[in-house]
């Protein structure tokens, strides 16, 4: 041992400088580059698919959107043809993409701490000079932020791809707040990915084994995503109430019902029974075709009943995005803080 290192060792070490963060960058990259490559590969393949199927679809859509007059039968048929040709693929992709944040959180992030604890290497890693708080922060935060940013970039591409089906001009397939599309647009996809990562980190630290931690991350994320889509999102802002059944296609309808002459809500059975007396007149429009102006709501309201509908207007898309993104960010910070607390206090 040289005199130089000896004096460094015996020097005043009460005010030791910590090991710099940038040294951890190499460690994080070296140990998790395959996980990052996996995320990049998954998003890359999906992105390539969106581009290759999206370009011809947008080409076809431009022709449909340019059809004039828009209310003509020919334009209606063109819209229908476009829908038949492309909707099922787009819907399948949207369904598939729902699980991508969970896959990233479960397979890229949950094993980080779980594997250290399962194989015992935490006894090496957490007794190095850098200290385990720094070590954990320098692994989890850059990885979570990187994959969330990649997910955010991916959702921009998806928004482009999916535009024909949420477009206002054409017959709108889905309102932008609907469960299948809302969480793939705007900031939500990145926020859900971040949330999945922080769930994965905490699950790995709590469960301490790789496979159960992966399973628990998927389950917890699914529970959170389902409750957000099915129960929470419709209450972010108080729904609007209308009596008009012909809302714009961008409106996300929460519920609808009838009230009778006494103002009390009618049961579905009562409405069905009442509608049995409705016989709309059919009008012959061709040699073998008839057109019926079905308007059950109009028929019912003419008889003193009242139609109610609660809905979230499409204009609330961005407020809802910021609300959901905001609480998911808050939740992620909380879960990561809990993970760090556990690392500090429950190591062995």
């Amino acid at each position: 041992m040289t005199a130089l290192t000896m004096s460094a060792r015996l020097g005043n070490d009460t005010d030791l400088r910590p090991v710099p963060w940038r040294r951890m960058a190499w460690v994080t990259w070296r140990q998790h580059r395959f996980a990052l490559a996996g995320v990049a590969g998954l998003l890359g393949v999906l992105a390539a698919y969106l581009v290759f199927t999206g370009l011809p679809m947008h080409h076809a859509y431009a022709a449909v959107a340019a059809c004039r007059p828009a209310s003509s039968l020919a334009c209606g048929n063109a819209t229908g043809d476009f829908d038949n040709a492309h909707w099922s693929t787009a819907e399948a992709i949207a369904v598939l993409l729902q699980v991508v944040p969970a896959l990233i959180g479960a397979f890229a992030v949950a094993p980080i701490l779980a594997r250290e604890l399962e194989t015992g290497t935490f006894r090496y890693a957490w007794t190095q000079g850098i200290g385990r708080t720094r070590w954990t922060l320098a692994k989890l935060v850059p990885l979570a932020v990187t994959v969330a940013a990649a997910a955010g970039a991916f959702s921009v591409l998806f928004s482009w791809y999916f535009k024909p089906f949420v477009d206002q001009g054409l017959q709108t397939r889905l309102p932008p707040l609907a469960p299948l599309v809302f969480d793939l647009h705007g900031v939500a996809f990145a926020a859900w990915t971040l949330a999945a990562c922080s769930i994965g980190a905490l699950a790995g630290m709590l469960i301490r084994r790789v496979v159960p931690a992966i399973a628990a991350t998927m389950a917890a994320w699914a529970g959170l995503a389902l409750s957000a889509g099915l129960f929470l999102r419709q209450h972010y802002l108080t729904p609007l109430v209308a009596h008009n059944p012909n809302l714009p296609g961008s409106a996300w309808i929460i519920s609808s019902w009838y009230t009778g002459r006494d103002g009390k809500p009618l049961s579905q059975a009562a409405v069905s029974q009442f509608l049995q007396g409705y016989h709309p007149a059919a009008k012959q429009v061709g040699p073998n075709s008839f057109q019926t102006n079905l308007d059950p709501v109009g028929y019912i309201t003419q008889h003193g009943y009242k139609f109610w509908v609660t809905y979230q207007p499409g204009s609330r898309f961005w407020p809802f995005q910021w609300i959901e993104g905001g609480y998911l960010l808050g939740l992620s910070v909380l879960l990561l803080a809990a993970t760090i607390w556990l690392v500090r206090h429950r190591a062995a």
Partner: protein, 242 residues
């Protein structure tokens, strides 16, 4: 002379049972200290507390002359090789050297590479492909490359064959001779430490039964060997327990 480890009424309990109780001891610097006791005596618990992996349930433990165990200043001067010498199986020896260098303020890469060269451990080979003895040597080299003031080894010889045991202890003793590093190592087999240890801590049922310099202990108990001494004490505690 400072104490490398000082425990004051230190205790740790896991789910209601005390793994370590009322442990008070001070190990002075400059020794190769053997922490000996039967399985379940609390050896690993005491070492985990000393390196900061576990937090005390009672009392306090400081290292290297008063530094809180697990603090940055403490970790800077202590290197720990845990039982079964866990290292990342998918990383090469070279990557592990680089990893350890990046996780510490100083790391003597020259020493570590030289040591692995002498041992014939290929730098490019993944740790998982090395033999048990080579993995233990690799973990030890990573620890010594940090030039610690205290080297803590938990059951370092438990899973090694006789040749690997000898080589492992030779590396430890070479570092002691060259650097004056203090060593604390645990074992449930005292025989293999008889030649190297000059300080003994005997732990049984979560409590310190005996602690002191080997020469002083032998002289005061009129015994010739540490193993004989330890056995006598362990029998005594077992009888008391009955």
């Amino acid at each position: 002379m400072t104490n490398v480890i000082e425990a004051d009424h230190l205790g740790k309990h896991y789910r209601g049972t005390w793994a370590l109780r009322e442990c008070t001891l001070a190990i002075p610097a400059g020794h190769v200290a053997a922490l000996v006791g039967p399985n379940g005596a609390g050896k690993t618990t005491l070492l985990n507390l000393a390196v900061g992996l576990a937090a005390p349930s009672a009392g306090a433990v400081t290292v290297l002359g008063g530094r809180t165990a697990g603090s940055r200043a403490a970790l800077d001067g202590i290197a720990f090789v845990a039982q079964d010498t866990p290292v990342y199986q998918n990383l090469s020896a070279k990557d592990l050297l680089h990893l350890t260098r990046n996780l510490n303020r100083h790391f003597d890469t020259g020493y570590a590479r030289g040591r692995l060269g002498e041992l014939g451990i290929p730098l490019k080979r993944k740790a998982g492909k090395l033999s048990g003895g080579q993995q233990a040597q690799l973990a030890l080299t990573l620890a010594l490359g940090r030039r610690p003031r205290l080297l803590v080894l938990d059951e370092p010889l438990a899973n090694l064959d006789p040749v690997a045991r000898h080589d492992f202890m030779a590396t430890v003793m070479a570092a002691v001779a060259a650097d004056g590093v203090s060593v604390l190592l645990s074992s449930h087999v005292l025989a293999e430490l008889e030649r190297v240890a000059d300080y003994l801590i005997l732990l049984s049922q979560g409590q310190v039964q005996l602690a002191g310099k080997a020469g002083d202990l032998l002289a005061s108990h009129h015994m010739v060997g540490l193993e004989e001494l330890a056995l006598a004490y362990l029998r005594k505690t077992l009888e008391v327990a009955k």
